[in-house]
């Protein structure tokens, strides 16, 4: 493979702007795959991804394309499209020389796209602006072209496509070849290959997606991971075109998969550099970061005898997901479970859904928490990633919570509601940029916990879905935090405790008890629900006692039907968790996220 004929590129796009469909169309156009083989969105291979329209795991495909009698090798590297996965995005960008910036012709640029564009520019990528979905009846080409011009592209370089009809795909392939530079790099230098993804295969172990930057890697080579220091012998090298094909070697500029009987994903870190053990590179590739969970919550099996099954499920998911962390924890209310850490809320929801769907375990997820820092009166500092770990108030000197800088991207008519929302969420205004006369980016500093709570839902409802946002962690700030407990029938339910800002506790407590009253069905006796800080009750409501649950009618001796109705009731109860003497449905544990004051 001639290095000059390789083009490594990725696609940057907001969710739903047609990234995967566009990738499919390129595969189809270049003959890499026939229309018949094309399951909608070939590159996303998990069900949940396809359903949610998000790409979670990356994928790299080699496409052969003849242009002016020269054979070109296009490596399309797929990237995740959600803010939870921005580090993974940055590493897959680093594996490329170019990027397609795909913008929906009817929606225009979104915050996410912009954030990833800046990431691409930081990585010195050549960016080709693409306006997709031009076939849509509500496409507003002029508006979107203006937006792209405002962020520095010229009208001439914009490629117009419709992934649906195939229009513009040829032009796009041509600009990829003409504009995106061929990879540089030195085949004779010591090996440097960037890990930008990994996947667990039950037969091969961890399969690593790599971009060779310098040197050559061959089968039987002994490789070394520069961060984790782990050594392995290369068992297989493959490319995906888009069927798996074995190759002898991968050299500078090439993208492919490496397997080396790697059993633990902990040895394979996205962003790490692979080199040869006997001829190591002196310095690793830049940009490596340890991925740290930002959000924690408890996962508990509804049926307590499924604890081991849950452990197995988490271990299996972890094989493919180094950013997922978990440790056993015990809750008085829920029994044995795991404290799990995630990159963000979406990541958490995806894992929860996969456990329920793929492993068939009914779960209770407790309300998500960020990581707080607490300075104790004895001057020592502790980390609190779960409300139950919050020390007694008498021992606390100061509390700190993580803050993020958010960029909110919106039509200007929503500036007012957005600022109101950010103010409500304890935000500090930083500044505001006009992208053009009608669009703004508003920058705010906000506590991460507010983002985790309901910021995204609120933002959508305050702006009728027009605003998008992105955030990055900027550090910790002092804050007046308290632990709010929820009591059912007079007993604290530890799994419902939550850490809140003191000024907001009363309002949150009221919302939560009301929501619980809605969710928890009537019991055989009246059940008070209280929210309390320490011993001070700040909100209360009561669930009335059950008055009626009886099969009154008897008809011609049809008692099998009566039994069936009772069986159905019994099955319904199985999905509830017995806490003390109260039966609580699983949704109750997320009621802490309850919001009713939607605009």
């Amino acid at each position: 493979m001639k290095k000059e004929n390789i083009r490594n590129f990725c696609i940057i796009a907001h969710i739903d702007h047609g990234k995967s469909t566009l990738a499919d169309r390129i595969l189809e156009k270049t003959g890499a795959i026939s229309k018949r083989e094309l399951k909608e969105q070939m590159l996303d291979d998990m069900d949940i991804e396809r359903e949610r329209g998000i790409t979670i795991k990356l994928n790299a495909v080699q496409i052969k394309y003849k242009y002016n009698d020269e054979e070109y090798y296009l490596h399309l590297i797929d990237t995740p499209g959600h803010v939870d996965f921005s580090y993974e995005v940055s590493r897959s960008l680093a594996a490329c020389e170019g990027a397609l910036l795909v913008v929906d012709a009817s929606q225009g640029i979104e915050a996410q796209t912009l954030a990833n564009l800046y990431l691409a520019l930081d990585n010195n990528l050549t960016v080709i602006p693409v306006i997709n979905k031009i076939d849509l009846p509500n496409a507003d080409l002029e508006k979107v072209i203006k937006e792209l011009e405002n962020i520095g592209f010229s009208r001439e370089e914009i490629v117009l496509t419709s992934a649906k009809t195939g229009e513009g795909i040829d032009t796009l392939l041509e600009s990829i070849i003409k504009k995106i530079p061929a990879p540089k790099g030195d085949e004779t230098a010591p090996l440097k290959a960037l890990i930008f993804d990994s996947v667990f295969d039950p037969y091969k172990g961890v399969v690593v997606s790599i971009r060779v930057v310098d040197g050559v890697v061959k089968t039987k080579d002994i490789i070394k991971m520069m961060q984790t220091k782990a050594n392995y012998e290369v068992v297989g090298l493959t490319i995906n075109n888009p069927k798996e094909t074995s190759v002898e070697a991968l050299s500078a500029g090439e993208v492919g998969y490496l397997s080396a009987s790697i059993k633990s994903i902990n040895h394979v870190k996205v962003g790490d550099t692979i080199t040869l053990k006997d001829d190591p590179a002196s310095i690793a590739l830049p940009g490596y970061k340890e991925m740290k969970p930002m959000v924690y919550c408890g996962f508990y099996p509804i049926e307590s005898n499924r604890f081991e099954d849950l452990r197995e499920a988490l271990e299996k998911l972890k094989l493919n997901d180094a950013s997922l962390v978990f440790d056993p924890e015990t809750s008085k209310a829920l029994g044995f479970g795991f404290r799990c850490g995630f990159l963000g809320l979406l990541h958490m929801e995806i894992i929860e859904e996969r456990i329920e769907r793929e492993f068939n375990i009914d779960l209770i997820a407790t309300s998500p928490s960020v990581i707080y820092e607490v300075l104790l009166t004895d001057k020592s500092k502790i980390i609190v990633d779960a409300p139950t770990k919050m020390p007694d108030r008498s021992l606390i000197a100061k509390t700190y919570e993580p803050y993020v800088k958010t960029s909110i991207f919106s039509p200007k008519e929503y500036i007012g509601p957005i600022m109101e929302l950010c103010q409500d969420k304890r935000g500090t205004f930083i500044n505001m940029d006009y992208l053009d006369e009608s669009r703004v980016t508003i920058y705010y500093e906000l506590p991460l916990s507010e983002i985790v709570y309901d910021f995204f839902d609120k933002l959508k409802s305050y702006t009728k879905g027009y605003a998008s946002f992105d955030y990055e962690l900027i550090g910790y700030k002092e804050s007046n935090l308290v632990k709010m407990d929820i009591l059912l029938n007079g007993e604290i339910v530890d799994a419902l405790s939550v850490i809140v800002h003191k000024d907001f506790a009363y309002q949150r407590g009221k919302l939560v008890v009301e929501k619980l009253k809605e969710i928890i069905p009537r019991q055989m006796f009246e059940v008070p629900i209280q929210a309390a800080i320490g011993t001070h009750v700040i909100a209360r409501t009561d669930i009335k006692a059950m008055r009626k649950n009886v099969l009154a009618k008897c008809y011609g001796g049809d008692v099998t039907r009566k039994k069936k109705l009772l069986e159905k009731q019994k099955a319904g109860k199985k999905r509830m968790k017995q806490i003390g003497s109260v039966e609580v449905p699983q949704e109750a544990f997320l009621s802490i996220l309850a919001t009713t004051d939607k605009k």
């Binding site: 008055r547 009154a552 009618k553 008809y555 011609g556 001796g557 099998t560």
Partner: protein
């Protein structure tokens, strides 16, 4: 086998709440139906001497005199014990002196009337018609003819019904001075007119208040012996007791259920199939554990509950060994053991499902 249920699935009018097995009355269809009913009885009935026969519906009294005569003639094949309780369901609009005399002639000694309500607002929702005057006249006539065992069905918890409305219905029924009263809160069953029209249930608390009102009104003259049933002394429905006491019974006719040996059988609800002699829809063979489970969920509907000695005699097992969960339920005051029997107290009867599900296997 000492008990037999006969189903007559014909009505002159279809009520909005009814999900029983019924069709609109059609003279020809009834004649044909009676032929097949006879065939079913002939093929299954084993000449047992019966303590109870219960003709239910639909509306058995909607048949004309000739058809009723034919039906009752067919049923003479069933051997009757000397103390037989022989019931038939009637409604006030179709009953006549001639029909009542016919019942007398064949030995029917218990009449069960679907009254449901006399409140015009309720009747409109239920899509029924009743005339107070006619009801009073017919009950008087029945008593004059010597029918001493009469049941009246009362329905409550009807949308928009008030406590006052229910009290008026109760006053009217109490004045009729019949031997047995069955009360049912309205159930909105799927596929009924009410369900299709998206009618909602009344408030749970109001429903319970109505139930309490009924218990209070009937307490002086009637014994509350089963969740929905009240009887004067000596007038409990022997036929219904056979269900609650988990006894065997025949069930003949469209949609009827029977319990023969250890098998529970449900007949088809399709008239077409029934008229092709394909009367069985499904059956369930019961294990001893199943039977004991039925014993509990049925027996605990009776206020007197389940006699511990009788249970032991029947199943050669102590009730506590069969269901250790009883101990928990006693501790939670959901069940009572008075030394002889285990029962649900009257104040918990209205939430009895919460208790009964403990006797259902997973």
């Amino acid at each position: 086998m000492k008990h037999c249920y006969i189903h007559i699935p014909f009505c002159q009018n279809i009520c909005s709440y009814c999900d029983f097995c019924k069709v609109l009355y059609n003279e020809e269809l009834v004649n044909k139906y009676l032929l097949y009913l006879e065939r079913e009885i002939n093929s299954i009935y084993k000449n047992d001497i019966l303590d109870t026969i219960y003709i239910g519906g639909g509306t058995p009294s909607s048949l004309n005199v000739k058809q009723l005569d034919k039906l009752l003639k067919i049923l003479t094949k069933l051997k009757q014990s000397k103390t037989i309780e022989y019931s038939i369901e009637c409604n006030f609009s179709s009953i006549t002196l001639e029909k009542l005399n016919l019942f007398k002639k064949y030995g029917i000694n218990r009449l069960s009337f679907g009254l449901e309500s006399i409140n015009s607002k309720n009747l409109k929702i239920l899509e029924r018609t009743e005339s107070k005057r006619q009801i009073i006249k017919i009950i008087e006539l029945c008593k004059k003819l010597g029918f001493t065992n009469i049941n009246i069905d009362l329905m409550y918890a009807i949308p928009k019904e008030s406590i006052k409305d229910l009290q008026a219905d109760l006053d009217f029924i109490l004045a009729l001075d019949v031997s047995h009263i069955s009360t049912y809160s309205l159930i909105i069953e799927p596929h009924t007119k009410l369900a299709i029209n998206r009618v909602n249930y009344i408030d749970e608390d109001l429903d319970y208040k109505m139930y309490q009102l009924i218990c209070k009104n009937l307490a002086d003259n009637y014994d509350h012996y089963e969740i929905s049933n009240f009887a004067k002394k000596g007038f409990q429905s022997k036929h219904n007791l056979c269900y609650w006491q988990n006894k065997n019974y025949y069930g003949f006719g469209l949609g009827a259920s029977s319990y023969i040996g250890t098998t529970r059988i449900n007949n088809t609800k399709s008239l077409t199939k029934y008229l092709q002699d394909k009367y069985i829809l499904n059956y369930e063979n019961l294990t001893k554990n199943d039977i004991m489970s039925y014993e509990m969920i049925l027996g605990l509907r009776l206020l007197q509950g389940i006699n511990k000695d009788q249970f032991k005699e029947k199943y050669a097992k102590d009730i506590y060994d069969a269901f250790p969960i009883i101990n928990n339920l006693l501790n939670k005051n959901l069940l009572v053991d008075d030394g002889n029997s285990i029962y649900i107290k009257e104040d918990k009867v209205y939430v009895s499902n919460e208790i009964l599900i403990n006797f259902i296997k997973e």
